[in-house]
């Protein structure tokens, strides 16, 4: 099977099959990265980002010189595209609230406990939204999308140790913010 650089060379010379194979290989990780930046409220937008990314890549593939991995290049484009879109959709009402999704999955024993949990989850979601983009993305990839540290490192284009430090720092910050809001993390 052709590797990415052979497929890129094919796509650069106008081979649509080669480009289709690149799409097939990279569409899922591109979507995961986009969704990790935009969050659960904007899943349809993440798919739009994935489409925009591939259209951009198709348009600019001739300028790709192979100095970096094709995957790193496309993930960098995805990150920027998703962050730009996020800035635009920030004030739009989301399709589904993050805590509603959670509540639908985990029934709680009583209404009082359920309300408490919902409040804490809402506070946590709010705190997460104030973190730097890379921390948010690393958290969602790791805790929601089930990505391992190595996958997060590839998608964010950083070493594994940096991902571990992002996660550690994000947990510390969240712990502090929740404590300030009067919630316990135990």
């Amino acid at each position: 099977m052709d590797n990415d650089s052979q497929l890129v060379a094919g796509a650069q010379s106008g081979d649509q099959q080669a480009f289709a194979e690149l799409v097939r290989r990279h569409s899922a990780p591109v979507f995961r990265l986009a969704v990790s930046i935009l969050g659960r409220e904007f899943i349809p937008e993440a798919e739009d980002v994935a489409q925009e990314v591939f259209l951009k890549v198709h348009h600019a593939i001739e300028s790709f010189r192979g100095e970096a991995e094709f995957s790193s290049w496309i993930y960098r484009i995805t990150f920027n595209q998703a962050v730009n879109l996020k800035a635009r959709v920030r004030f739009r009402s989301p399709h589904a609230d993050e805590t509603v999704l959670y509540r639908a999955m985990t029934p709680e024993p009583g209404p009082e406990r359920q309300a408490e949990t919902a409040q804490r989850d809402e506070a946590l979601a709010e705190c997460i939204r104030t973190l730097p983009e890379v921390y948010q993305s690393a958290l969602r990839l790791y805790y929601w999308l089930g990505a391992g540290v190595s996958e997060v490192a590839v998608l964010l284009g950083v070493p594994e140790n940096t991902v571990k430090s992002y996660l550690h720092r994000a947990r510390q910050l969240l712990h502090g913010m929740l404590k300030e809001k009067g919630y316990s993390c135990d």
């Binding site: 798919e47 259209l55 958290l139 805790y143 510390q172 969240l174 712990h175 316990s184």
Partner: protein
């Protein structure tokens, strides 16, 4: 992992647990349709329209510059020069790519 980290870790695991989304099954086909549509060369009507627009723009620029007292040589260089530069840049880039691929 220290106890403080463990507490927030388990809270995050519980709180962020939700169905993992995936791309629509027809994403690849839809995207490739868009790609093909975007990379289609202009049809005959489009080419005529673009050429007509270019010609009228060049003529208008020429007439305006002439009315400002420029001679025809300078007008020709001003209009043709940038077009020639773009063409040369494209040609150079294409040549570099071909050399890199075969080199």
């Amino acid at each position: 992992m220290d106890p403080r980290d463990a507490g927030i870790d388990s809270l995050l695991r519980r709180s962020l647990a939700a169905p993992v989304p995936s791309l629509s099954p027809d994403f690849d086909q839809r995207l490739m349709r868009e790609v093909r549509r975007g990379s289609q060369p202009l049809d005959r009507y489009g080419r005529i329209l673009l050429a007509g627009y270019g010609l009228i723009s060049a003529l208008t620029c020429g007439v305006v510059m002439r009315s400002r007292g420029l001679d025809w040589g300078a007008i020709t260089v001003t209009i043709i020069g940038p077009l020639a530069l773009i063409a040369a840049a494209r040609w150079t880039r294409r040549r570099t790519h071909t050399t890199m691929k075969h080199g």
